[in-house]
Each structure stands twice: as structure tokens, then as C-alpha cells.
Symmetry: C2
Subunit: 215 residues, 2 copies
């Protein structure tokens, strides 16, 4: 992908513009973080990539934020399974979903090895170093730098409006679960109708699951 | 992808369930068709894939339908450029966007060569044989069988809600251009706001272009 077959980045402190995976705009990925005892956690996040800089805003009270503040790194997983987006948005998934992995890279002329966790089903992933650059009562902002990235299996995914509708519904549903806003419910209902009409089996399953979470 | 490095399908009459590219549900791709004089045409279509069968519904009065009725084949292009979806939905793109290609495959034990056209920027494509199985005053229905498929460059695309919103807006906009329905306009406005918020440069460009087409 980036002319680096082993997936080893040449410079662990290089900017995120170096990524052959992260694109312009907001990348909706599933972040895997872990705590001191090696317990991994997965949750959807949006990596904001503008003008070659990657940033992340995380709300307080989540395992994702706690773990990133503790370790300063996280793994952005590219997956194409709508069920996994819905599930990780609403609950903690079991340890059987995670794989322990090791990143070998060179930083400041030195060879480094970083232990981390990723999703077993990741098609590709990017390991980020996250530096806190701002905070408020509700959230923290991080500047991201790529440490390592790897393409595990480069499958082709034709665009499916049903899959897209599940991601859209998940974003709205996490907010709706708190606010119970009628406006959000209408957006979710529209998304679910598109998921049923245009999606495959996994989109149908994800739609059922999402409606159960916000009942 | 399907253990067939040269992209040559073993059986030109095999069902679409054989595809390693077309997924379950509705696949939003850009169809390239051509007429007797070799003039190629591109337009977004939705390939409906359920229970291992692929089908296509095309409305009358389009080049896509005319060309498929004439040739019985078309090329489904997997691209990830939002501008191309918007452009091909509303206008004829120039010949510089097309590449002439040849499919070599085996059907009924015989080696066959099929000339066709595809998008130059296709990341992968599937060549389909289309057999008309039904029609009405407004549309024709086709049953699809894969002749040949090929992965040209398997790029990783993290999910972007802005890209998805452009496809959604394009579907609504082609209908809105005719009906001027207020309900469709509201859906388009929502999509455009997501495209601006979550998309990259190409999504912004596609949004500008789409709003111009439906002015």
C-alpha cells in the first residue's frame, strides 16, 4: 500500500499525512484501547483528518478515553461489519474478539517494539500515538501521530447504502439513548428503512440489534 | 481475491454468487455500457444481490438501458470518488474517462474473448451478462450473470459518512430533478450538511456540483 510490505513505518513520529489508510475528512473506525492489565476495549470513533493533521475528540466517562489517557496509544481498526459497529457502540465485547499484536518500527533512529491489541476481524489497522492538546468539562482533544499501519486483507467493498445507514443510525442512536429526542428518532427510523431495503443479512441483523438497544 | 490471479472466470455462465466483489444487498456501482459504434456511457446503478441471484431494474429512456438491450453486457465499476457518482448521474462524461478492455474467459468449454469498456479510474470491476426477464411501461428487469471480474487496485477505504451522504443525496437528487418534492429536498439538505461536516475535499466538490445540477 505505501511501498512498505512489512507494514513497518520508517518514523514513529511522522505526521498522519503519511498514512496510506486514513483519508481526508472524518474516518469512522473502531478504536481498540487497553488498560494496564491488558484488558482490551472497542468503540467506534471518528478520526478527523484535515490538512494532513489527524485529531480526535473523546467524551469523558468512556473506557476509550480512560485507556488512551493511561497508555497514549490506540489502534484504529478498519472493518466492514455493521454488527460490530452497533455492538461496540453499546456494549463491551468479549476478549475473544481481540488479537494481541506487536508493532516494530523505527523512531529517532532506534528500533522500537510496541505491544497493542486490535480487532481479530480487522481488514487493516493504524496504530496511533495520541497527545492531549485540549480539554473541557465534557471532552478531551488529541493530536494523533501514526506509529504503524498494516493491511491484513484488502477486500473490495462495493458501496452499500444499507451499511452506511447503519453507521448513521449508530451515531444518532448513541445520542438518542440519552436525549430521547424525537428528531433523532426520525433520523434513526429513516436509516433503518434504508438498511432494510438496501442492506444484506448483516445489515438486517445490525438493525434488529440497534432497535433493541434503544427500546 | 477469488484465488484467480488473472481475473479469468472459469465459467462465463456461472451465477453471480461466484463473485468475490459483489456483496449481499444492493451494490451501488457505476455501470459502463456502450453502443454499436463503441461509444461508452457511464451511470450509477444498483445491483440487487439476494440469495445468490443478481438482478437489475432499469428505467426507460436512458443510454444504460438502450445499450444493455443492444449488447446484453455491461461493466459494473467499483470506484470511490464521490464526484464521479454525481457527475455520471447527471451528465455524459467524456471518452477520456473510459478504457477499452478485453475479458478472456471459458464458457461451455470454449475460450472466449469479450471486448468491453470500463472506467479508467475503476479500482475493480465485474463484467455482467444481462438477460431481460421482465418489463413494464416504465422499466425493464434483468437477471445478471458474471462473465469476468478483476481487482485492479485494492485500496483500503475507511468509512466516511460524507461519502455515503453524497451517494444518498445523488439518489434523491435524480428524483428531485423531476418531482421537485419538498420531502426529497429536505433529505438532500440533510445529506449535504453531513457531506460538508464529515467529508474530505472530493465530497465538498461533489456537494457543490450536486446543488448546481438541481438548482
Amino acid at each position: 500500500m505505501n511501498g512498505d510490505i512489512n507494514g513497518i513505518k520508517k518514523n514513529g513520529d511522522s505526521g498522519s499525512s503519511d498514512s496510506s489508510i486514513i483519508a481526508g475528512g472524518i474516518n469512522e473506525v473502531i478504536a481498540v484501547t487497553f488498560d494496564g492489565s491488558g484488558r482490551a476495549n472497542a468503540a467506534p470513533i471518528g478520526i478527523i483528518n484535515r490538512s494532513g493533521r489527524s485529531r480526535l475528540v473523546l467524551f469523558r466517562g468512556t473506557h476509550t478515553l480512560e485507556n488512551i489517557l493511561e497508555n497514549g496509544i490506540f489502534c484504529a481498526n478498519i472493518v466492514h461489519d455493521p454488527v460490530l459497529y452497533v455492538k461496540t457502540a453499546f456494549e463491551d465485547i468479549g476478549s475473544e474478539n481481540f488479537a494481541e499484536d506487536f508493532a516494530e518500527y523505527i523512531a529517532d533512529g532506534e528500533g522500537c517494539v510496541q505491544r497493542f491489541f486490535r480487532l481479530k476481524s480487522a481488514e487493516s489497522f493504524v496504530l496511533f500515538k495520541a497527545v492531549k492538546t485540549g480539554e473541557s468539562a465534557e471532552s478531551c482533544i488529541f493530536e494523533l501521530n501514526i506509529v504503524y499501519e498494516k493491511v491484513l486483507s484488502a477486500h473490495v467493498h462495493p458501496f452499500n447504502r444499507g451499511f452506511a445507514a447503519i453507521i448513521d443510525a449508530t451515531v444518532h442512536a448513541t445520542r438518542y439513548a440519552i436525549s430521547r429526542s424525537e428528531e433523532l428518532k426520525e433520523l434513526i427510523d429513516y436509516d433503518i428503512s434504508i438498511a432494510r431495503k438496501c442492506g444484506g443479512e448483516r445489515e438486517n441483523e445490525a438493525a434488529d440489534m440497534l432497535l433493541e438497544y434503544i427500546k
